[in-house]
Amino acid sequence: MNNALHSVQDITYRLLRIEKSSRADCDSDIRLAIYVCAKLQVPLTRFAGPVGYSTLLSRALALSCADNTRFQDMFISPDGILVISEPTSLQGQPISTNLPNDEGAILIAHLLALLATFVGEHLMLTLLSDAWPDESFDRDAPAIEVKS
């Protein structure tokens, strides 16, 4: 996660925790990340179209592959869904309590960083609010630093 950003990381872990809280049976970081992406797909497709969402996710996946080769086992289906091509290799990873350096966080952090890069923090948080309407995303948090 060389390019991932500190505050993006905070939001990433928060999104994973939100999904984990409603999916107690989920036993994989990667699976949680897939659920997060599925939630984001709706507002992002509405905002940027299915192609816009797919291309953004593809880029996040490519960046994740550079960080961890295990992402090479994943691809994006024509309808924009993240798919594990070899489920056995990525299933069953334990979910740690504070999620340090886990694969799922890598992917989500890259996706959020790309969003922040293109549309800015404010609109990114608005889109997150659309995906998780019951959650409040703090707009007064320090600005996200985007490193190239």
Partner: protein, 497 residues
């Protein structure tokens, strides 16, 4: 039958500097408008700027992306502008992408989706970006008739839902005149972009705006960090009251010169001082402004050939102090050497300065420097724009003194290298004459509209104490050639003899 009251159409402020004036007071509420033009001319920026100015939580804006630029890229650039208010994204503005439906060529599905979103949101403003008719027809297999029907239905529906609507469209120049879609629109805003030599010229025209007296013609546009700014051909002076010409004469600050002009220049007139380099044109302008300041009239000086500090130093050498009035705000000195500004932008700056200080006198020093400061592509419009500005200012009662450099020829008495006498009510001509191997300075009043004036040619001098009008040149013929000879050779070459 009793006379019925007219429906009042509310006008929305566009949030674009200059556009309200061009529209005739703002955008008609609930109107259905098309913003057209070639790629890169600012259509999306214009729509965004209007959207951010008008979107509220009660009357939000919906921005539908059809076949326009990708939303990610569009917003990445749009948020660089000052008008982009992130807070409005939360509750006032929604971006909705319909590119999938559009690419499938399903116009009914696109319309249904828009209708569904509009019904759910009740927006005050709807923007649909964008229609590229040529690509659309080729890609989708739809005929232009189907597209027209789609636009008609859209217009009908959105008007009923009390939404002011903008379609952003790309059309070829040949389609502008007769495209059937344009008959549906209440407003047609056309943007142009052209590269001329080393500069980009952007312009806008309101080709149609139902129910409003928009300003005809083509207006210059500038895109900068603030967004779009429009420079109306009327220089922001549309709604100002016209000055009734009074018989007042105002002093140029040199009593002897006033006397030659029959008591001074008429207030609200345009005066041109024409002459070669070093003849004292700028100094005459400084006298004119200083005299105005002395009697309580604020002034504006637009300099193009030297910096304001240099100008102030220059005139202080003949005892004219303009630094004090500049400091206390009674005088504004504008220094414009932008090299790629249009005439209208530059003149807009001048007109704004006049309004800011309430100027009654203005000096443009010089027209040649002004023209040189413009990008080459704008120089074609120079005379016409200058005429409009001078007429706009003088209509307000502002007296304008412009200097213009002449290339001195010794076989004629040309007034300037431009055909600009139509700009002026009065012309003072300065020139050098060669007498006995010495260049002497000559001043003549060539023209004073509606007034008698001296027809003699006077010698004048410039020294540390200022300009001094001397005696008229007598006993010479050929003075206007610059190389005079004595009328009576027996009396010698000089009139003093």
């Amino acid at each position: 039958m009793s006379k019925q009251k007219k429906v009042i159409i509310r006008k929305l402020a566009t949030g674009v500097q200059g556009l309200d004036e061009v529209c005739g007071g703002g955008l008609p509420e609930y109107s259905f408008n098309i913003i057209g033009g070639s790629p890169g001319c600012g259509k999306t920026t214009l729509a965004h700027q209007i959207m951010f100015a008008n979107a509220t939580p009660e009357k939000p804006a919906l921005f539908f992306t059809i076949l326009g630029e990708p939303a990610f890229k569009m917003l990445r650039y749009q948020q660089q502008y000052d008008f982009f208010d992130h807070e409005k994204l939360k509750s006032c503005i929604r971006f909705i992408n319909l590119s999938k439906l559009a690419l499938e060529g399903d116009l009914d599905a696109v319309l249904n989706e828009i209708v569904k979103e509009v019904a759910a949101t009740s927006p005050g403003l709807v923007i649909v970006d964008s229609f590229r008719t040529m690509n659309w027809n080729a890609q989708s297999g739809n005929s232009s008739g189907e597209l027209q029907a789609f636009v008609q239905k859209l217009a009908l529906y959105l008007a009923s839902w009390q939404a002011t609507t903008f379609l952003i469209a790309e059309y070829s120049d040949s389609e502008i005149q007769n495209h059937p879609i344009f008959t549906v629109a209440d407003g047609l805003f056309w943007l142009y972009q052209k590269v001329e030599r080393n500069s980009i010229v952007r312009k806008m025209q309101i080709m149609k705006l139902r129910g409003q007296a928009s300003i005809p013609g083509i207006h210059t546009i500038r895109l900068n960090e603030s967004g779009m700014q429009i420079f109306p051909r009327t220089f922001g002076l549309t709604n100002t009251e016209s000055h009734n010409p009074a018989p007042n004469r105002i002093s140029l600050g040199i009593p002897e010169l006033d006397a030659l002009m029959g008591g001074g220049v008429h207030e609200g007139n345009s005066l041109i001082v024409s002459g070669p380099s070093g003849a004292g044109k700028s100094i005459l302008g400084a006298y004119f402004i200083a005299e105005g300041l002395r009697v309580g009239e604020a002034g504006v000086i637009a300099v193009f050939e030297e910096t304001p500090d240099s100008y102030l130093r220059h005139v202080s050498q003949i005892g004219i102090d303009l630094a004090g009035p500049r400091k206390d705000g009674r005088l504004q000195i504008i220094y414009l050497r932008p090299l790629d500004l249009s005439v209208d932008e530059t003149l807009h700056e001048v007109a704004e300065a006049v309004k800011r200080v309430g100027a009654k006198r203005i000096v443009i020093d010089s027209l040649a420097g002004f023209e040189m400061a413009l990008a080459p592509g704008f120089r074609f419009d120079f005379r016409e724009s200058l005429y409009r500005m001078i007429r706009s200012l003088t209509k307000l009662g502002v007296t304008v003194l412009s200097t213009v450099e002449t290339q001195e020829k010794f076989d004629s008495f040309g007034l300037s290298n431009y055909n600009i006498s139509f700009l002026s009510d009065s012309i003072i001509r300065l020139r050098y004459v060669s007498i006995r191997g010495r260049l002497r300075k000559l001043l003549a009043i060539v023209k004073m509209r509606g007034s008698e004036h001296s027809s003699e040619m006077y010698e004048y001098s410039i020294s540390a104490s200022g300009i001094k009008i001397e005696k008229p040149f007598k006993n010479y013929r050929g003075l206007i050639s610059g190389i005079p000879s004595p009328w009576d050779p027996t009396r010698g070459p000089d009139e003093e003899k």
